[in-house]
Symmetry: D2
Subunit: 123 residues, 4 copies
């Protein structure tokens, strides 16, 4: 999050939005944001979203995710949106999107389905 320069713009129970601005250091040779950056941002948003519904003394870990890249990540600002689809005691399922904002228009450029696990810390 820090490396990408992202900030939390929405934090509600079961839904989190993180945002970052275009920066040359985050791009591939063609000027689009790198897939690894998109993945990281939406994984973080999903993890936070899952965590909002977990107990205070717990930790969230990503078990796995699947992500489709749908359009080139071109824009001025990018949002990682994470939402809880099903919150369980151990397993939480999230869906996430990466939205590119360009000239005031929003476009979903990647979409994720993720499985998170809740680890309870003793003591």
């Amino acid at each position: 999050m820090k490396t990408i320069g992202a900030s939390l713009v929405k934090l509600a129970p079961g839904e989190v939005v993180v945002e970052f601005s275009y920066d040359r250091s985050l791009t591939q040779q063609n000027g689009y944001i790198h897939a690894g950056v998109l993945t990281t941002i939406v994984d973080s948003a999903c993890g936070f979203a899952a965590y909002t519904l977990m107990p205070a003394d717990s930790e969230v870990l990503t078990i796995e995710y699947k992500i489709n890249f749908m359009s080139p990540a071109k824009g001025e600002t990018f949002k990682g949106i994470g939402k809880v689809v099903k919150s369980g005691r151990t397993i939480t399922v999230c869906s996430g999107d990466v939205v590119a904002v360009e000239g005031g228009k929003e476009r979903v450029v990647a979409t994720m389905q993720a499985t998170m696990i809740c680890l309870i810390h003793p003591g």
Copy 2:
């Protein structure tokens, strides 16, 4: 679809709903609908949804999908809902849900993210 006894209950551009009723032959030993049946029904819904946005002389094939099973598939009726997230010339990305209806209440029991390919048949 026929084996499962499913029928098409909604067919709109980019969105399809198929429905089937509980039948003992579709269940596992515990009385819940088998995961393979859930997967088939929502894969079909996603494939149809993708196809609604493809040219007339084309064929749709499932490249891959990922599905999370979230709750036991208990109910009287089940819906497979498929929606197009991104429709491209070659690749279409869909999201799907299986909804169990029990006593008038709906519950999402499985959720899918699928990639479809459009094959054009020569004339």
Copy 3:
């Protein structure tokens, strides 16, 4: 497994193979085995494989899987092969293949990556 007419042909710690023969009732209109059948067979093989490494009083459940369909499922016999990639106390990751056997030749027609959970029964 019973509906498909499949039988267990290998059961080793962390690896399971199930097999079934071509039957018209398992095919789509084009004569190939239905994707839902392929998915069921390899999911079962992965679940069994995971279970071979779990404690006696436990139960295995599929959290999620992702499957790629690579070739038409044409053949006389089909194998679902499930292997444990990582066995943990709670989470087990498996990889699976569906192999079609036709005229003595084997071809991988689908490949899966699956996440299983171990549920411990009290008592």
Copy 4:
């Protein structure tokens, strides 16, 4: 690749290995390599592996991948291994692993299944 400091250590038809060394800038607060870095490295390895079997005037793009994180990414060196499972004219399916090397011992810390598409450039 450059940001991560990775280099190509194996390039064979259908198989590619990239490697990078532990660097504090690639870690999370707990000292393990960040999931986004692991994902990037193995996605790159899979993309290159797919590309080795594509025609000269083509481009490879990642349609989607699914990755399971199995162990903390702790080590001195890390390898991203990408292998082609099925190479088609349009679609290529790959499997990938991230291997952590620590004190001479290798451990698979993440495993991926990816779908790549081949884009042919005109003329």
